[in-house]
Symmetry: C2
């Protein structure tokens, strides 16, 4: 987008970033929505995590800074604008994912003024590395949300050929790193889904 | 969504709320995206405001609590799940909008446990009434974001029959209640758009 020539340089870069990330609305995930018959995109997904973080913060086993959690979930998938969405149960795609996403972060955050580039990158790195209570809680939201969509859709991506109950339990156990209660709930959903035949027993 | 019978009552209501709000992804606005040839939905829009609040917070003329701003923009459009989106330039639809949205808030937030119902409602009321620096900044983001989409689309909803440059300036001047610098920028975009013929001169 061509901005007016009078725009101060700092603001120009910030608005360019705001415009660039509009593309997140066009990165589609595997998960089907509950409210409509289509797949979810990353912008909707990120919003849903923010909403969940507001509702479910009390279940974090360690105290979390709620602002930091929200900032993380808002930013966590931006790299997929350039790196694409990597399906949780696709081991082949997972190879090289980290390198692809880091290169994407380098490129995308560089649009921002340097101080914000560094701050946003630090938030994203922290999320990826799960080195703080906030990162563990944000990641728990990121794993719980599609689980709710799959359960509500009586299978969803659990029905992908080759995926079993044990795979789902293994991938989702990350929730337990942040919240014993939410993990107990998630485990019950997965086992109930398997009982209903929405994901094959291992 | 039927939740397992073992789910504690408080968590059951919280998850029911998380599921109910999936519908925000199916409430479509008038604004066209930049990244794809379709209209934007409320969930994507709310995420975009959160991202903008992170990038542009420094332009608020009064100090703002950044967590409160994020909570506001994440929640601000939830009432539209039941009340629908009201187009900014449709005066007829605006009549009754407040009553419709209050009834929607009563219904939606009542899904939550009572303490969260009251807290979320207070955040939404504060946003609607623009009685705090956070509410004024959140509202500025809400007005600036579609303006960027319209400008980037060389008109967008500015091309709605009957809408003039003066209408756009009047509706967007709310940005100036929070940030003189962002309002100066927005005003330049609107005047530049009118020069290009993307919105008719009054």
């Amino acid at each position: 987008m061509d901005q007016p020539g009078s725009t101060p340089e700092r603001l120009r870069r910030q608005i360019e970033f705001v415009i660039e990330v509009d593309q997140l609305k066009n990165v589609f995930r595997r998960s089907p929505l509950l409210a409509a018959d289509r797949r979810e995109n990353d912008a909707e997904h990120s919003w849903h995590l923010a909403l969940m973080a507001l509702v479910l913060a009390e279940y974090a086993d360690e105290p979390v800074d709620p602002f930091k959690v929200l900032a993380m979930v808002v930013l966590h998938d931006l790299v997929e604008i350039y790196a694409g969405d990597t399906f949780l149960y696709d081991a082949a795609a997972a190879a090289g994912q980290q390198d692809r996403e880091r290169a994407a972060a380098d490129k995308l955050f560089a649009i921002l003024p340097d101080d914000q580039r560094d701050r946003f990158r630090a938030v994203w790195d922290e999320f990826e590395e799960r080195v703080s209570a906030e990162a563990r809680f944000a990641k728990a939201m990121d794993r719980l949300q599609p689980l709710l969509l799959n359960y509500g859709n009586r299978g969803g991506t659990w029905r992908t050929p080759g995926v079993t109950e044990a795979d789902v339990l293994a991938r989702k156990s990350v929730i337990g790193e942040s919240s014993a209660e939410l993990w107990a709930y998630a485990e019950t959903l997965i086992r109930t889904g398997a009982e209903h035949g929405w994901v094959p027993r291992s």
